[in-house]
Symmetry: C2
Subunit: 202 residues, 2 copies
Amino acid sequence: MPKIVDHEKRRKQIAKATWKVILEQGMEGATVRNIAQEAGLSLGALRYYFSTQDELFVYAMKLVKANAAERINKIIASELPPFDKVMAILLEVVPIDPETMAEMEVWFAYVFYTRHKEDVLAAKKDEIFKGMRSLLLYLQQQQVLLAELDIEMETERLYALIDGLALHVLLESQRMDKERIVKVIQYHMEKICIDGVLVEGE
Amino acid sequence: MPKIVDHEKRRKQIAKATWKVILEQGMEGATVRNIAQEAGLSLGALRYYFSTQDELFVYAMKLVKANAAERINKIIASELPPFDKVMAILLEVVPIDPETMAEMEVWFAYVFYTRHKEDVLAAKKDEIFKGMRSLLLYLQQQQVLLAELDIEMETERLYALIDGLALHVLLESQRMDKERIVKVIQYHMEKICIDGVLVEGE
Protein backbone atom coordinates (compact mmCIF):
# COMPACT_ATOMS: atom_id res chain seq x y z
CA MET A 1 0.00 0.00 0.00
CA PRO A 2 2.46 2.65 -1.15
CA LYS A 3 -0.28 5.30 -1.05
CA ILE A 4 -0.57 5.18 2.76
CA VAL A 5 3.21 5.22 3.24
CA ASP A 6 3.44 8.28 1.01
CA HIS A 7 0.63 9.93 2.91
CA GLU A 8 2.40 9.48 6.23
CA LYS A 9 5.72 10.52 4.72
CA ARG A 10 4.18 13.72 3.41
CA ARG A 11 2.60 14.45 6.81
CA LYS A 12 6.02 14.06 8.45
CA GLN A 13 7.54 16.39 5.88
CA ILE A 14 4.87 18.98 6.69
CA ALA A 15 5.50 18.53 10.41
CA LYS A 16 9.21 19.21 9.86
CA ALA A 17 8.37 22.33 7.86
CA THR A 18 6.18 23.39 10.80
CA TRP A 19 9.08 23.02 13.25
CA LYS A 20 11.33 25.01 10.94
CA VAL A 21 8.83 27.86 10.70
CA ILE A 22 8.28 27.91 14.48
CA LEU A 23 12.06 27.92 15.05
CA GLU A 24 12.63 30.80 12.66
CA GLN A 25 9.57 32.92 13.28
CA GLY A 26 8.02 31.74 16.55
CA MET A 27 4.45 30.50 16.98
CA GLU A 28 3.10 33.85 15.75
CA GLY A 29 4.74 33.18 12.38
CA ALA A 30 3.50 29.60 12.14
CA THR A 31 0.57 30.34 9.87
CA VAL A 32 -0.79 27.72 7.49
CA ARG A 33 0.40 29.92 4.62
CA ASN A 34 4.00 30.08 5.88
CA ILE A 35 4.08 26.37 6.62
CA ALA A 36 2.76 25.48 3.16
CA GLN A 37 5.42 27.70 1.59
CA GLU A 38 8.19 26.11 3.68
CA ALA A 39 6.95 22.63 2.72
CA GLY A 40 6.77 23.61 -0.95
CA LEU A 41 3.04 22.85 -1.11
CA SER A 42 -0.01 24.81 -2.14
CA LEU A 43 -2.45 25.79 0.58
CA GLY A 44 -4.94 23.36 -0.89
CA ALA A 45 -2.44 20.49 -0.83
CA LEU A 46 -1.57 21.21 2.80
CA ARG A 47 -5.27 21.25 3.71
CA TYR A 48 -5.58 17.80 2.12
CA TYR A 49 -3.16 16.43 4.73
CA PHE A 50 -4.31 18.56 7.68
CA SER A 51 -7.74 20.09 7.62
CA THR A 52 -7.00 22.58 10.42
CA GLN A 53 -3.95 24.35 11.81
CA ASP A 54 -4.57 22.83 15.25
CA GLU A 55 -4.65 19.32 13.76
CA LEU A 56 -1.25 20.02 12.20
CA PHE A 57 0.19 21.35 15.48
CA VAL A 58 -1.07 18.33 17.43
CA TYR A 59 0.52 15.99 14.88
CA ALA A 60 3.83 17.89 14.84
CA MET A 61 4.03 17.73 18.64
CA LYS A 62 3.16 14.02 18.72
CA LEU A 63 6.11 13.51 16.41
CA VAL A 64 8.41 15.41 18.82
CA LYS A 65 7.27 13.12 21.61
CA ALA A 66 7.55 9.97 19.50
CA ASN A 67 11.13 10.87 18.51
CA ALA A 68 12.12 11.42 22.14
CA ALA A 69 10.38 8.20 23.24
CA GLU A 70 12.20 6.20 20.57
CA ARG A 71 15.60 7.49 21.68
CA ILE A 72 14.78 6.84 25.35
CA ASN A 73 13.52 3.31 24.70
CA LYS A 74 16.82 2.46 23.01
CA ILE A 75 18.68 3.58 26.13
CA ILE A 76 16.35 1.63 28.43
CA ALA A 77 17.02 -1.52 26.39
CA SER A 78 20.79 -0.96 26.56
CA GLU A 79 23.28 -2.66 28.88
CA LEU A 80 24.38 0.55 30.64
CA PRO A 81 24.74 0.47 34.45
CA PRO A 82 21.83 2.18 36.30
CA PHE A 83 23.49 5.56 36.99
CA ASP A 84 24.79 5.89 33.42
CA LYS A 85 21.45 4.80 32.01
CA VAL A 86 19.57 7.48 33.93
CA MET A 87 22.17 10.11 32.97
CA ALA A 88 21.80 9.14 29.31
CA ILE A 89 18.00 9.40 29.49
CA LEU A 90 18.13 12.82 31.19
CA LEU A 91 20.47 14.02 28.44
CA GLU A 92 17.85 12.99 25.89
CA VAL A 93 15.27 15.15 27.63
CA VAL A 94 17.47 18.24 27.93
CA PRO A 95 18.44 19.55 24.52
CA ILE A 96 22.18 19.20 23.90
CA ASP A 97 22.35 18.87 20.13
CA PRO A 98 20.80 20.95 17.33
CA GLU A 99 18.05 18.43 16.65
CA THR A 100 16.85 18.11 20.24
CA MET A 101 17.30 21.88 20.75
CA ALA A 102 14.92 22.48 17.88
CA GLU A 103 12.47 19.97 19.32
CA MET A 104 12.60 21.61 22.75
CA GLU A 105 12.15 25.10 21.39
CA VAL A 106 9.15 24.00 19.35
CA TRP A 107 7.79 22.22 22.40
CA PHE A 108 8.09 25.26 24.67
CA ALA A 109 6.59 27.55 22.03
CA TYR A 110 3.73 25.11 21.64
CA VAL A 111 3.13 24.71 25.38
CA PHE A 112 2.95 28.49 25.80
CA TYR A 113 0.71 28.79 22.77
CA THR A 114 -1.73 26.20 24.12
CA ARG A 115 -1.91 27.95 27.52
CA HIS A 116 -4.72 29.98 26.04
CA LYS A 117 -6.37 27.03 24.29
CA GLU A 118 -6.31 24.63 27.20
CA ASP A 119 -9.23 22.37 26.21
CA VAL A 120 -8.37 21.72 22.60
CA LEU A 121 -4.66 21.19 22.58
CA ALA A 122 -3.37 20.86 26.14
CA ALA A 123 -0.14 18.90 26.09
CA LYS A 124 0.07 16.10 28.62
CA LYS A 125 2.78 17.67 30.73
CA ASP A 126 2.14 15.24 33.56
CA GLU A 127 3.94 12.51 31.64
CA ILE A 128 7.37 14.03 32.16
CA PHE A 129 6.75 14.34 35.91
CA LYS A 130 5.86 10.64 36.04
CA GLY A 131 8.89 9.79 33.90
CA MET A 132 11.21 11.56 36.36
CA ARG A 133 9.66 9.64 39.24
CA SER A 134 10.18 6.35 37.40
CA LEU A 135 13.87 7.17 36.93
CA LEU A 136 14.30 7.87 40.65
CA LEU A 137 12.37 4.74 41.67
CA TYR A 138 14.56 2.72 39.31
CA LEU A 139 17.72 4.11 40.94
CA GLN A 140 16.22 3.37 44.36
CA GLN A 141 15.38 -0.20 43.39
CA GLN A 142 18.93 -0.62 42.03
CA GLN A 143 20.23 0.64 45.42
CA VAL A 144 21.99 3.55 43.77
CA LEU A 145 19.89 6.34 45.28
CA LEU A 146 20.74 7.70 48.75
CA ALA A 147 18.47 6.16 51.39
CA GLU A 148 17.12 9.24 53.19
CA LEU A 149 15.57 11.00 50.20
CA ASP A 150 11.93 12.03 49.78
CA ILE A 151 11.00 10.64 46.34
CA GLU A 152 8.13 13.06 45.78
CA MET A 153 10.33 16.07 46.54
CA GLU A 154 13.23 14.63 44.54
CA THR A 155 10.91 14.16 41.56
CA GLU A 156 9.82 17.81 41.69
CA ARG A 157 13.42 18.88 42.11
CA LEU A 158 14.76 16.81 39.19
CA TYR A 159 11.85 17.77 36.94
CA ALA A 160 12.25 21.50 37.71
CA LEU A 161 16.02 21.25 37.25
CA ILE A 162 15.65 19.59 33.84
CA ASP A 163 13.05 22.06 32.58
CA GLY A 164 14.98 25.01 34.00
CA LEU A 165 18.16 23.85 32.27
CA ALA A 166 16.25 23.32 29.03
CA LEU A 167 14.98 26.88 29.29
CA HIS A 168 18.46 28.21 29.98
CA VAL A 169 20.12 26.34 27.15
CA LEU A 170 17.56 27.89 24.81
CA LEU A 171 17.64 31.41 26.17
CA GLU A 172 21.13 31.78 27.63
CA SER A 173 23.20 29.66 25.31
CA GLN A 174 26.28 31.85 25.77
CA ARG A 175 26.76 30.58 29.31
CA MET A 176 24.87 27.30 29.14
CA ASP A 177 26.57 25.14 26.54
CA LYS A 178 26.46 21.39 26.12
CA GLU A 179 29.44 20.69 28.35
CA ARG A 180 28.04 22.79 31.18
CA ILE A 181 24.60 21.23 31.01
CA VAL A 182 26.08 17.73 31.30
CA LYS A 183 28.17 18.90 34.25
CA VAL A 184 25.19 20.38 36.14
CA ILE A 185 23.01 17.30 35.67
CA GLN A 186 25.87 15.02 36.69
CA TYR A 187 26.56 17.23 39.74
CA HIS A 188 22.92 16.97 40.81
CA MET A 189 22.71 13.21 40.25
CA GLU A 190 25.94 12.64 42.20
CA LYS A 191 24.42 14.59 45.12
CA ILE A 192 21.47 12.18 45.32
CA CYS A 193 23.30 8.91 44.60
CA ILE A 194 25.68 6.86 46.70
CA ASP A 195 29.39 7.06 45.93
CA GLY A 196 31.06 4.51 43.71
CA VAL A 197 28.30 4.15 41.14
CA LEU A 198 29.21 7.23 39.17
CA VAL A 199 30.15 7.46 35.54
CA GLU A 200 33.67 8.63 34.81
CA GLY A 201 33.99 12.19 33.49
CA GLU A 202 31.90 13.03 30.45
CA MET B 1 5.26 69.45 38.21
CA PRO B 2 2.00 67.50 38.20
CA LYS B 3 2.23 67.02 34.43
CA ILE B 4 5.23 64.68 34.67
CA VAL B 5 3.66 62.68 37.48
CA ASP B 6 0.50 62.24 35.43
CA HIS B 7 2.57 61.23 32.44
CA GLU B 8 4.35 58.51 34.39
CA LYS B 9 1.10 57.40 36.01
CA ARG B 10 -0.51 57.05 32.61
CA ARG B 11 2.45 55.05 31.31
CA LYS B 12 2.12 52.67 34.26
CA GLN B 13 -1.57 52.31 33.58
CA ILE B 14 -0.80 51.40 29.97
CA ALA B 15 1.85 48.91 31.12
CA LYS B 16 -0.73 47.21 33.37
CA ALA B 17 -3.17 47.04 30.48
CA THR B 18 -0.36 45.42 28.45
CA TRP B 19 0.17 42.72 31.09
CA LYS B 20 -3.57 42.07 31.22
CA VAL B 21 -3.77 41.60 27.45
CA ILE B 22 -0.70 39.32 27.42
CA LEU B 23 -2.18 37.26 30.26
CA GLU B 24 -5.51 36.84 28.55
CA GLN B 25 -4.48 36.52 24.92
CA GLY B 26 -0.76 35.76 24.89
CA MET B 27 1.90 37.81 23.09
CA GLU B 28 0.17 37.22 19.76
CA GLY B 29 -2.87 39.11 21.06
CA ALA B 30 -0.81 41.99 22.49
CA THR B 31 -1.35 44.35 19.57
CA VAL B 32 -1.27 48.12 20.05
CA ARG B 33 -4.98 48.17 19.20
CA ASN B 34 -5.93 45.63 21.89
CA ILE B 35 -3.75 47.34 24.49
CA ALA B 36 -5.26 50.76 23.75
CA GLN B 37 -8.74 49.27 24.09
CA GLU B 38 -7.88 47.61 27.41
CA ALA B 39 -6.41 50.90 28.71
CA GLY B 40 -9.47 52.82 27.54
CA LEU B 41 -7.40 55.04 25.25
CA SER B 42 -7.49 55.90 21.59
CA LEU B 43 -4.69 54.60 19.40
CA GLY B 44 -3.44 58.15 19.01
CA ALA B 45 -3.37 58.72 22.78
CA LEU B 46 -1.43 55.50 23.32
CA ARG B 47 1.07 56.50 20.63
CA TYR B 48 1.59 59.78 22.51
CA TYR B 49 2.92 57.80 25.49
CA PHE B 50 4.71 55.07 23.54
CA SER B 51 5.72 55.73 19.97
CA THR B 52 6.31 52.04 19.15
CA GLN B 53 5.02 48.69 20.40
CA ASP B 54 8.56 47.62 21.29
CA GLU B 55 9.06 50.74 23.42
CA LEU B 56 5.88 49.84 25.31
CA PHE B 57 7.01 46.24 25.84
CA VAL B 58 10.43 47.34 27.09
CA TYR B 59 8.80 49.71 29.56
CA ALA B 60 6.25 47.13 30.75
CA MET B 61 9.04 44.62 31.41
CA LYS B 62 11.18 47.16 33.23
CA LEU B 63 8.23 47.71 35.52
CA VAL B 64 8.01 43.95 36.21
CA LYS B 65 11.68 44.00 37.19
CA ALA B 66 11.38 47.17 39.25
CA ASN B 67 8.44 45.70 41.20
CA ALA B 68 10.38 42.52 41.96
CA ALA B 69 13.51 44.50 42.91
CA GLU B 70 11.51 46.67 45.33
CA ARG B 71 10.07 43.66 47.11
CA ILE B 72 13.49 41.98 47.30
CA ASN B 73 15.22 45.10 48.64
CA LYS B 74 12.70 45.27 51.48
CA ILE B 75 13.59 41.69 52.45
CA ILE B 76 17.33 42.39 52.24
CA ALA B 77 16.88 45.34 54.62
CA SER B 78 14.89 43.22 57.07
CA GLU B 79 16.14 41.58 60.28
CA LEU B 80 15.45 38.02 59.16
CA PRO B 81 18.12 35.36 59.88
CA PRO B 82 20.18 34.41 56.77
CA PHE B 83 18.37 31.19 55.82
CA ASP B 84 14.92 32.76 56.22
CA LYS B 85 16.02 35.83 54.30
CA VAL B 86 17.20 33.79 51.32
CA MET B 87 14.01 31.67 51.42
CA ALA B 88 11.90 34.85 51.42
CA ILE B 89 13.82 36.26 48.44
CA LEU B 90 13.48 33.02 46.44
CA LEU B 91 9.74 33.08 47.11
CA GLU B 92 9.61 36.55 45.58
CA VAL B 93 11.24 35.23 42.42
CA VAL B 94 8.99 32.19 42.04
CA PRO B 95 5.37 33.23 41.56
CA ILE B 96 3.21 32.19 44.51
CA ASP B 97 0.47 34.81 44.46
CA PRO B 98 -1.76 36.09 41.63
CA GLU B 99 0.25 39.29 41.17
CA THR B 100 3.65 37.63 40.86
CA MET B 101 2.12 34.82 38.77
CA ALA B 102 0.92 37.42 36.29
CA GLU B 103 4.34 39.08 36.27
CA MET B 104 6.07 35.76 35.65
CA GLU B 105 3.73 34.75 32.86
CA VAL B 106 4.21 38.09 31.14
CA TRP B 107 7.94 37.75 31.63
CA PHE B 108 8.12 34.28 30.07
CA ALA B 109 5.90 35.34 27.17
CA TYR B 110 8.14 38.33 26.61
CA VAL B 111 11.37 36.36 26.82
CA PHE B 112 10.10 33.89 24.23
CA TYR B 113 8.83 36.70 22.05
CA THR B 114 12.20 38.46 22.10
CA ARG B 115 14.02 35.23 21.13
CA HIS B 116 13.46 36.25 17.56
CA LYS B 117 14.30 39.93 18.11
CA GLU B 118 17.50 39.40 20.05
CA ASP B 119 19.22 42.72 19.29
CA VAL B 120 16.39 45.13 19.97
CA LEU B 121 14.74 43.79 23.05
CA ALA B 122 16.89 41.08 24.58
CA ALA B 123 16.11 40.85 28.27
CA LYS B 124 19.13 40.78 30.54
CA LYS B 125 18.65 37.24 31.77
CA ASP B 126 22.14 37.11 33.19
CA GLU B 127 21.04 39.25 36.15
CA ILE B 128 19.04 36.44 37.74
CA PHE B 129 22.00 34.06 37.45
CA LYS B 130 24.19 36.60 39.25
CA GLY B 131 21.46 37.18 41.85
CA MET B 132 21.36 33.47 42.65
CA ARG B 133 25.13 33.39 43.06
CA SER B 134 24.96 36.38 45.43
CA LEU B 135 22.40 34.54 47.59
CA LEU B 136 24.65 31.47 47.82
CA LEU B 137 27.76 33.53 48.57
CA TYR B 138 25.82 35.34 51.29
CA LEU B 139 24.82 32.02 52.87
CA GLN B 140 28.44 30.88 52.62
CA GLN B 141 29.74 34.06 54.24
CA GLN B 142 27.15 33.62 57.02
CA GLN B 143 28.46 30.05 57.50
CA VAL B 144 25.07 28.59 56.72
CA LEU B 145 25.97 26.84 53.46
CA LEU B 146 27.51 23.35 53.55
CA ALA B 147 31.30 23.54 53.16
CA GLU B 148 31.92 21.09 50.31
CA LEU B 149 29.70 22.70 47.66
CA ASP B 150 30.74 23.98 44.24
CA ILE B 151 29.28 27.52 44.13
CA GLU B 152 29.22 27.69 40.33
CA MET B 153 27.35 24.39 40.05
CA GLU B 154 25.05 25.29 42.96
CA THR B 155 24.21 28.57 41.24
CA GLU B 156 23.21 26.77 38.04
CA ARG B 157 21.24 24.24 40.05
CA LEU B 158 19.34 26.82 42.12
CA TYR B 159 18.68 29.02 39.08
CA ALA B 160 17.40 26.10 36.99
CA LEU B 161 15.29 24.86 39.93
CA ILE B 162 13.69 28.28 40.39
CA ASP B 163 12.94 28.79 36.70
CA GLY B 164 11.73 25.21 36.33
CA LEU B 165 9.37 25.63 39.30
CA ALA B 166 8.15 28.95 37.90
CA LEU B 167 7.39 27.19 34.62
CA HIS B 168 5.56 24.38 36.39
CA VAL B 169 3.47 26.65 38.59
CA LEU B 170 2.33 28.42 35.41
CA LEU B 171 1.73 25.34 33.29
CA GLU B 172 0.90 22.60 35.78
CA SER B 173 -0.91 24.51 38.50
CA GLN B 174 -3.08 21.50 39.35
CA ARG B 175 -0.14 19.71 40.93
CA MET B 176 2.14 22.63 41.68
CA ASP B 177 0.31 24.89 44.12
CA LYS B 178 1.77 27.50 46.48
CA GLU B 179 2.23 25.10 49.38
CA ARG B 180 4.10 22.58 47.23
CA ILE B 181 6.39 25.17 45.68
CA VAL B 182 7.44 26.43 49.13
CA LYS B 183 8.05 22.83 50.20
CA VAL B 184 10.28 22.03 47.19
CA ILE B 185 12.40 25.17 47.58
CA GLN B 186 12.75 24.60 51.31
CA TYR B 187 13.68 20.94 50.66
CA HIS B 188 16.41 22.01 48.24
CA MET B 189 17.77 24.74 50.51
CA GLU B 190 17.87 22.37 53.48
CA LYS B 191 19.93 19.93 51.38
CA ILE B 192 22.62 22.56 50.77
CA CYS B 193 22.64 24.21 54.23
CA ILE B 194 23.93 22.98 57.57
CA ASP B 195 21.41 21.72 60.14
CA GLY B 196 20.04 23.98 62.83
CA VAL B 197 19.70 27.14 60.73
CA LEU B 198 16.42 26.17 59.14
CA VAL B 199 13.15 27.99 59.32
CA GLU B 200 10.31 26.10 60.93
CA GLY B 201 7.96 24.48 58.31
CA GLU B 202 5.46 26.71 56.57
